[in-house]
Each structure stands twice: as C-alpha cells, then as structure tokens.
C-alpha cells in the first residue's frame, strides 16, 4: 500500500481498538496480535456495529470508522461494567 494508506489503516486500527477497549470491554491478548486471526477483535467490531445498527461486517469500514470518531458518552455500551 502507499505509505499514507497504510498509515491511515494503522491509525484506524488504533482508534477502533481504543474504542472497543473503552466501550466494549475488548482486551488485547498479548503484546502483538495478528489482525486477521484476531477473532475477538472482529467479534467486538460486530457487537459494536450491531449496537449502532450498522452493517455487521466485522470489518473496519468507513461507516464504522466515522462513528468511532464522534463525541460520545464515556460510559460503555456493554453491560457488566462495574
């Protein structure tokens, strides 16, 4: 990929990972993980897309990326938060 696309991709991935950690109880397992095989991340993205009524693809598409950049309440969207 041209550098800036790869960089955008990485930034997007960091954004979505932070978002899922903050609001969907996502926990990164181990220091590094391989994007494709990380089913937990995909599952969490699906959970978030379902909550917000987006198309449930499990992928970081533009609609999902757009949403994670909006201002919001700091409280999580999944139960079990104490």
């Amino acid at each position: 990929f041209p550098a800036d696309t790869r960089q955008n991709k990485e930034e997007g991935m960091q954004l979505i990972q932070k978002y899922l950690e903050n609001y969907y109880g996502f926990k990164k397992d181990g220091e590094s993980f391989i994007w494709k095989s990380n089913s937990l991340m995909t599952q969490k993205i699906k959970e978030m897309q379902k909550f917000f009524g987006l198309e449930v693809t499990g992928k970081l598409d533009s609609g999902t990326l757009d949403l994670v950049q909006k201002r919001r309440c700091g409280f999580p969207d999944v139960a079990g938060f104490s």
Binding site: R71, C73, F75
Partner: protein
C-alpha cells in the same frame, strides 16, 4: 438499565455542583443542570434539591484527563462525560470533560443535552440503541430550545421509578421541556453591565453577598470569581427582590429585609419564628420598609437607612433611636437614598444607584468613588 437494576430507593435526591467550567457563566451552568434534571423529574415522581455544601447523592464536577476515578478523560472530542449508576460514594456522580467547549447552543458541546444524558445514568439508565433516544451514546447536535424526551427514555426511567405524580404528563406524549424559568429571563443580571445596581449587600461568613432581584452573587474578597445563585436555592421561603441585609458575625446570623418583614438566617437555614414585622425592632409604625442596613461590630450599633435618614440600634443599651437622623450629618458626602451598604475591614461601602462610595468612619469622609461592580472581575 444496568445489570441488577440499581436505582435510588428514595424519591427526593440531592445534587451539588462542585466546580464550574470557565466556558459558561455559573448561572448558565446552574440553569443547564437544573433543566437537565427536570427532564427526568417531569416523567417520574423524582424531585431534585440542590445543595451548596456537604455530601449529595449526585456530585457534579468538571475535570480534564485523570480525575480520581478509574476512567480518565481523553482530551477534546471522544468521551465528553460519564456518570455512575445509583449507589453510595461515586454512585450517581457525573463528571464532565473540561477539555470540551461547553455551550448552551448548538455550537461546541451543549451542556444541558450531555447532562440530561448523564443524569439518566445517575438514575440507573444504561445506553439505548435508538438513535433518537437521549440515552443513545453518541453526541448529536439538537435544538436546545425545545427538547423532546423519547418514549424509549420514558419507558426506561418509568420502569425504574414509575410515572410522574402529576396527571397531565401523559406518558404516551413525548415530554417537551421548555427552557426553565431561569434561562427564560430576558437577561440574567450581568454584574459587568454599566447599569448594574444592587437591592442589598451584606457580608456573609467571610464572603460578600450581592442581592439582585431573585438572584445573589457570593464573592470572597480574595477569590476572583463570584458564585451566582437563586435566592430560592438557599432560602426557598424568602421572596425575591430583598430590600436590605446585614450580618452579625459573632452570632453567625444574617438579617434580611423585604417590605415590612424581616428574616434571620444562619447559613442556608431560616431560623424559626421568622418572618417578623420590622416595627418589632423599635421603628415607629409609619416605617413600612427600609432601604439598607449594616451592623458596626466595633460600635455595637446597627444602622438602618430609610430615604435620606437613618435609625441606629445600640446593642449595649438595647435601644433604638427615638427619631431618625439625617444621613449626611453622620456620613458627610453620602446624600439622599441609598440602595445598599456593608462594612468591609475599616470602611463602609454605600451603594447609590450606579455609584459606590467608600466611607472612612475615622476620617468621617468619603475616601473613594467606585463603580458598583468594583468587587467583580470585570
């Protein structure tokens, strides 16, 4: 609702605003918070009482980044606020990210709208999936003048607390919350305006209290900002537009006058047995109101000002002057009716319309001509 459906067991809840954002006047913050709570009190039996000191069920604060809980804020954008489910300590508290630009319009981040959402959490509501519901987690621009509570929000809150006790609030209707009375005021009094005048001024537990219509400012001489409150938020039974007020520090009592009655308060409590009629203080019956008053602790005398004359009550002899004296005779340079007066350190400050006159009782003359809003950071 949250797991386990935590909710408040009582219907009257207290709240306290611990600090203020510099983005808005304190009065605007007070009004936004009050209006945000009324969103929920309109559709449930809940009532909210504001406290200015001590503990409260819902403690409200503004902070940036880390702020003594486990969820630091993230700078401008992103998370704008969070709140805790009902419970003790943190329970019910609402925190607002100071790195946002808080507004009362559609620009920036509208405080009323975010606060109404956060108080939903404080009362036990979780996030809604309905994009039109207040409890939807993502911030959206909206028309602040008319706010519509969605049926999904009403279903959630009434599941926890039941419907409002007043019948006209039909549950099927979405509830429109008009701007509350406070923010309906054509203009909240602005201390920095050129024409500001005060109804009464008094010291109050080390601060100075400036009364105007139904509000008052509290200002500590050493602190830059002033706290702005509704008189009714401190003393619900006190009428607006007081005439005069003075403090007797050694008794921790403040006397407040309106018409031919007066009240004695200690902190935010009106002492029992008040109001009383002012003639009980020793005035002749033709005195129907006073313009201003202050207590001179060094002399042990209280001075009551009416038109261009004044009466003095001597604490030691416990007697009131038999007849009034001319103000200008005892306070040369102070002519005519005064609006308010108080003592600060060794000087008396007389408020006459848009002027403030500093009077030195030792030199027996006016030492400074000041603007009325001299005490405010204008």
């Amino acid at each position: 609702t949250f797991a386990g459906e935590p909710k408040w067991a009582k219907q009257v809840l207290t709240y306290r605003i611990l600090n203020y954002t510099p983005d808005l006047h304190a009065a605007e913050v007070n009004a936004a918070i009050k209006k945000a709570l009324s969103v929920w009190s309109h559709v449930t039996p809940l009532k909210f009482i504001r406290k200015d000191r001590g503990d409260a069920d819902i403690m409200i604060s503004f902070a940036a980044r880390g702020h003594n809980d486990f969820i630091p804020f993230d700078g401008p954008g992103g998370s704008v606020a969070h709140a805790y489910a009902p419970g003790k300590d943190f329970g019910g508290d609402a925190h607002f990210d100071e790195d946002e630009t808080w507004t009362k319009s559609t620009e920036g981040t509208n405080l009323f709208y975010v606060a109404a959402h956060e108080f939903g959490h404080s009362l036990g509501l979780f996030h809604s999936k309905d994009p039109n519901a207040l409890m939807y987690p993502v911030y959206r621009k909206f028309d602040p003048s008319v706010f519509r509570l969605h049926q999904d929000d009403i279903n959630g809150i009434q599941h926890l607390y039941g419907p409002s006790s007043n019948t006209h609030n039909d549950q099927r209707e979405s509830t429109e919350i008009k701007d509350s009375a406070e923010s309906k005021d054509p203009t909240l009094p602005n201390t920095c305006g050129p024409n500001i005048t005060f109804d009464a001024v008094t010291t109050f537990r080390g601060e100075i209290m400036f009364f105007k219509d139904k509000h008052f400012w509290r200002k500590h001489p050493a602190v830059r900002t002033a706290d702005f409150n509704l008189i009714s938020s401190f003393w619900p039974r006190l009428p607006p537009g007081v005439d005069a007020a003075y403090e007797m520090p050694e008794k921790d009592e403040t006397v407040i006058f309106k018409g031919n009655e007066f009240w004695v308060v200690r902190g935010d409590t009106i002492l029992p047995g008040y109001p009383q009629k002012i003639y009980t203080l020793g005035f002749s019956k033709d005195v129907t109101k006073i313009d201003a008053a202050f207590y001179n602790g060094k002399e042990g005398k209280t001075h009551y000002f009416i038109a261009d004359k004044f009466w003095s009550y001597d604490k030691r002899s416990q007697s009131m002057d038999r007849k009034p004296k001319l103000i200008r005779d005892a306070f040369p340079g102070i002519n005519g009716k005064i609006d308010a007066v108080f003592q600060h350190e060794n000087f008396f400050y007389f408020f006459c319309g848009r002027k403030q006159l500093e009077f030195d009782p030792n030199k027996k003359r006016v030492t400074r001509l000041l603007k009325t809003n001299f005490w405010f950071p204008c």
